[in-house]
């Protein structure tokens, strides 16, 4: 089944509440999937700095001393902010690749959840309320974000199998549905040099969009191509550094409700997810059409 949510703010005064609003939306969707949960938050741009969100099954040993070891490996100014099983490493933007290489050598057990200038991703096995509490998502501010609570069908219930999936800088995706041509696509995308970490079908969708955007397409154009190239059931909600997109497959079995006001655009698997948003009573509420791309840009 799965539950997905997304919130794209137009009114800057709501930004301090982004984490709290999105958390509440996701917790409401808990009974659509109890296996794992995750949220991606797009925060403030810090000029010339980039972030890696990492995860470790043994955070205490893995994160200890990592700042010094990264600096010793040539990543000057690296800093690390641990949050439970996750940590955000901040480095100079031009040292992102070097940081990933150093990290793979220094801490082979650590997984990279996502990278970018503004995006942080937190996801774990467990219920949305536990994941939200563990990572203190309600305290986070930001411009937009997406979330997912999972009922697994296509791959194992693990941290890496949780959504959102990120396969490109500041790009991430949540998926309700199941793809049927993901194995072929995974092979083709691997040939293009796009990195995937799991056997999960939704990660392939994220990687596909990363590949299309690398060809110069904007998010809207990439989502339009997805309608031709992805086979299966899907409702996707996708974030980029400045954009927010939604698309459903032509059969459109997987539920979706959207709401828009002057202050925000919101997505929920069900209307229940939207009922606590400010001004929802007067929002334009609609069901996104099948095979139709919706996207907004800051």
């Amino acid at each position: 089944m799965c539950g997905i949510v997304g919130l794209f703010l137009k009114d800057k005064s709501l930004e301090p509440q982004l984490g709290a609003l999105l958390s509440e939306m996701l917790v409401t969707m808990t009974d659509r999937g109890p296996d794992s949960a995750g949220i991606a938050i797009y925060g403030a741009d810090q000029n010339n700095l980039a972030k890696l969100t990492i995860q470790s099954p043994e955070p205490e040993t893995d994160f200890a001393g990592l700042t010094d070891e990264l600096r010793a490996a040539g990543i000057a100014n690296a800093s690390i902010l641990p949050k439970s099983t996750h940590a955000v490493i901040t480095v100079a933007a031009d040292q992102m690749d070097a940081t990933r290489t150093a990290l793979a050598e220094l801490r082979p057990n650590v997984r990279v959840m996502g990278t970018g200038n503004v995006m942080e991703i937190y996801k774990e096995v467990g219920l949305p309320k536990d994941v939200v509490e563990r990572f203190k998502i309600t305290d986070m501010s930001g411009t937009h974000g997406i979330g997912h609570t999972r009922m697994a069908t296509e791959s194992a219930v693990t941290t890496l199998g949780a959504h959102p999936f990120s396969t490109g800088s500041d790009q991430c995706l949540v998926h309700n549905g199941s793809l049927s041509n993901h194995n072929n696509l995974r092979r083709e995308l691997s040939h293009q040099g796009i990195r995937m970490e799991t056997e999960n079908d939704s990660e392939v969708a994220a990687a596909y969009l990363t590949g299309e955007m690398a060809k110069g397409k904007n998010l809207g154009e990439a989502l339009t191509s997805a309608l031709d190239d992805l086979d299966g059931f899907f409702t996707f909600v996708v974030g980029t550094k400045s954009g927010f997109g939604v698309v459903r497959d032509p059969i459109a079995c997987k539920p979706a409700v959207m709401a828009e006001t002057d202050a925000y655009v919101a997505f929920g698997s069900e209307y229940r997810a939207l009922v606590n948003l400010p001004g929802i009573e007067d929002a334009r509420v609609w069901e996104p059409e099948p095979a139709t791309v919706y996207f907004w840009e800051h």
């Binding site: 459109a252 209307y271 229940r272 069901e287 059409e289 099948p290």
Partner: protein, 228 residues
């Protein structure tokens, strides 16, 4: 009039109270506030009661309804009035997927739009939609009437049996074995009654086109043997 505020009352208490009503009972009226997208609101009623739901509901509202009149003053999620037997359900806003699915009787009025699969496998229900309907509507519809004042999406009436489909606007495409048919006097009469029952006075039956089954899929055709 009993008022159930779902912000402070369990949904089960509401539905249990509705199920406890006398089948032969008088004209009781219930009001439900703060539904906030809840699932299965006012399902399985078997009594001539009036239920007013003030807000939007989630999955399966008014499912299996018998004789009750249920009005949703908001939008309805997937499967509204699914398997209704009799009575009347009115949605003041839009309805999501498979509104009126498999329903045997009664009248479902959707004042906004209905999305995909409206009236799928309908078995005798009458559905009147003031707006548009989505793709695959009336798929395998067996009997009853589907009236659409706006437009219909792709594959209308695919593999349908004996349901009648009346569309006032355009049809994006017809499904397998669904064809346009003539409006005979008896159809004008049926449609006039349905419009009147739905409280529609500004639209005339002769503005509609009738669609129904070509009845070519009823029996196995030996020429299609290679397809199996």
């Amino acid at each position: 009039m009993p008022v159930f505020d779902l912000a402070t009352t369990e949904l089960r208490d509401l539905n249990a109270s509705l199920h406890a009503l006398d089948k032969e009972g008088g004209n009781e009226e219930f009001e439900v506030t703060n539904p906030r997208g809840a699932h299965a609101v006012a399902v399985g009623i078997d009594a001539p009661v009036d239920v007013h739901i003030k807000g939007s509901v989630g999955y399966y509202c008014a499912g299996m309804n018998e004789t009750a009149h249920i009005t949703v003053h908001g939008n309805a999620g997937p499967g509204v009035a699914e398997n209704m037997m009799s009575g009347k359900v009115v949605i003041k806003g839009d309805a999501s997927q498979y509104a009126g699915a498999t329903a045997h009787g009664g009248l479902l009025v959707i004042e906004g739009n209905a999305s995909s699969r409206c009236g799928i496998s309908m078995k005798g229900i009458d559905i009147v939609v003031k707006g548009n309907i989505g793709h695959m509507s009336a798929f395998m519809a067996q009997s009853g009437n589907l009236v659409v004042l706006g437009d219909a999406g792709d594959a209308l009436g695919d593999s349908l049996y004996e349901a009648r489909l009346f569309v006032r606007g355009t049809v994006k495409s017809l499904g397998a074995d669904c064809i346009k048919k003539d409006m005979r006097p008896e159809h004008i009469e049926i449609l006039a009654k349905l419009l009147s029952d739905a409280g529609i006075t500004d639209v005339k039956p002769d503005e509609f086109t009738r669609y129904g089954s070509a009845r070519q899929l009823y029996n196995f055709n030996i020429d299609n043997a290679d397809a199996y």
